[in-house]
Subunit: 343 residues, 2 copies
């Protein structure tokens, strides 16, 4: 079976995804899966479509040397929606910059792709929080999939684990560390570094943005909590409802005192079913060495599920050589969504 | 769809499974799944078959009050193989006492069930280590499933996570804590308890047997390593090949010294692909607080997968109220295997 793929957004993650497809092409072929890229939409390097297949290596080369991909296009296209429409793709990967307050333009891209009978796969949290029910229903009505494994734990399986490996289990709570930046900052402060220096370190390695607000005030964590609650607890929730508390109030003195007591501050994300409601929060909490969160240092992240059948099942992604949550891992989450959609 | 179920072995786990089916019957019905129990084989309380459905509550009551279930049987049956043959079951659950050196009689039970066109599901490690390839091929040839989720992490999903959530990933190593008894002993020794007293504690709460050799010398851990390697690395391996080293050589002095250095001894299970080979081991190792294994205390267990696409993905099951790895969780692993087999 031949699958035509459209890449909406062609940044680090999408380019890592293209390379992963190339690296895994023999394994895919062994499963009867052939692919070609038929549409690419970039932020600053143009747009290209060719239902017969674009030269993906050339597209990577052009973008990575700062050139436009327009010359690769078989017909003129001027924006992402046109790329989706003219790509004749079977699967659309949505990884364009998103407004997390509205989920746009990812929402429109995904609606368009699903309406055209494509599977829609994204690493963007926005469309999950703002459109999960609508997009899932639309996908179902078209016999297609809307998937988003890479949204919470940097490409490491979370949603598919719960869906595939926990049949008929009832989820009562989730608890975890979802934001790497704040975890790195708290880890470095435990080693005596000042907050401002720890933020600068995160910026220097590309983990934090120039304005670190989204991370340090807990909004990135809150949108991930909202996504998990919306999907796994089937209860629509916005990041605003989570009302996050960030880590700015954690002083070196507090961290030193905790350390002396064998404890650590972590930016703990949690959501718990209480009757028909879900109570969610993101806030710094003291944890001790009996907690699965205690050992998650630096860029390590993880989540603990409590269910009626298996108590306190944890998934974690450990830091190793700075790779955790990097584009390769996020790309793998998208790739896994593809394989699981078409199998 | 109506499924007839045979329970070969009717100990704590199988009885917890029967109760779990009853507790989840409305959820199963909502998925279009109806069930009845048509065969039960016990060790000391007789045998019963009825293709029209046995009174499972009565069977539980009889066995738990020390009585025989023979009176429930529609036709005379004298052993497990006859129960399988006369139950007309669609799914056979194998949880009878097993010889871990040979995998018998579980192997014969599973072969018989698969040959009769039943799905075969077990919590016994023996048939996985001694018959994985044969039984998987046999199941495939019959269009049925051979499943064993409950064999390694006490019912918590491991195999299905790797199979369903890591498509086309290449597993390079696994590392973990697979034996709760030795982890409890080491945890208690860290709190100053003597080895013998810690063993006695484990025996008193039913975690360790009268002869704790299987646990403390690493054989239980070794058979779990062998099962993981056999299945997930597609490399047949016996517990003997693992050559386990147990925890008898760990002295209170060693534990105190490690504690002073912020480290802990853990009975670490590992397997790593090196070229075409797999190097596996079970041995006490010092771990520090950066290891995902460090925080696994008492009956907590867990495993870390390293793959070519996601580095160091860990799954752990935390102790909580002494329930970890108990019959309810093991029963859930069997139940999940059932749902995943018939869906």
């Amino acid at each position: 079976m031949h699958y035509k793929l459209a890449l909406i957004g062609f940044g680090n993650v999408a380019r890592a995804l293209a390379r992963l497809f190339l690296r895994k092409q023999d394994m895919l072929k062994a499963q009867g899966i052939i692919f070609s890229f038929t549409g690419i939409s970039t932020g600053r390097h143009g747009f290209a479509v060719d239902p017969d297949g674009l030269d993906i290596l050339k597209a990577l080369e052009l973008v990575e040397s700062g050139q436009s991909i327009n010359s690769l296009s078989k017909s003129p296209v001027a924006n992402s929606l046109e790329v989706i429409q003219k790509s004749a793709a079977d699967v659309m990967f949505e990884n364009s910059p998103v407004n997390t307050q509205t989920g746009q333009p990812a929402l429109d891209h995904i609606r368009t792709a699903l309406n055209l009978g494509m599977h829609a796969i994204t690493a963007n949290k926005g469309p999950v929080v703002h459109g999960y029910r609508e997009l899932t229903a639309l996908a179902k009505s078209k016999g297609r999939q809307f998937k988003f494994e890479s949204t919470v734990l940097g490409g490491a399986p979370v949603f598919s684990v719960f869906r595939e490996a926990f049949p008929l289990a009832e989820l009562s709570s989730v608890k975890g560390i979802f934001n790497a930046t704040t975890n790195i900052i708290l880890s470095r402060m435990e080693n005596g570094e000042a907050y401002d220096d720890a933020v600068k370190y995160c910026q220097s390695v590309g983990v934090a943005e120039a304005d670190p607000t989204n991370d340090v005030d807990g909004w990135d964590a809150a949108i991930k909590v909202a996504a998990l609650v919306t999907v796994l607890m089937d209860t629509p929730m916005s990041p605003q409802q989570v009302q996050p508390t960030g880590i700015r109030g954690i002083t070196p003195e507090m961290i030193a005192k905790a350390k002396a007591e064998g404890k650590r501050y972590k930016l703990v994300c949690s959501a718990e079913k209480v009757g028909d409601k879900v109570i969610a929060s993101v806030a710094p909490q003291l944890v001790d060495s009996t907690s699965p969160l205690y050992g998650m240092m630096n860029s390590s992240t993880g989540v603990t599920f409590r269910t009626d059948v298996i108590l306190d099942y944890s998934i974690s992604l450990s830091e190793r050589e700075g790779m955790q949550g990097g584009p390769i891992e996020t790309a793998y989450g998208l790739f896994a969504d593809f394989v699981n959609s078409v199998k």
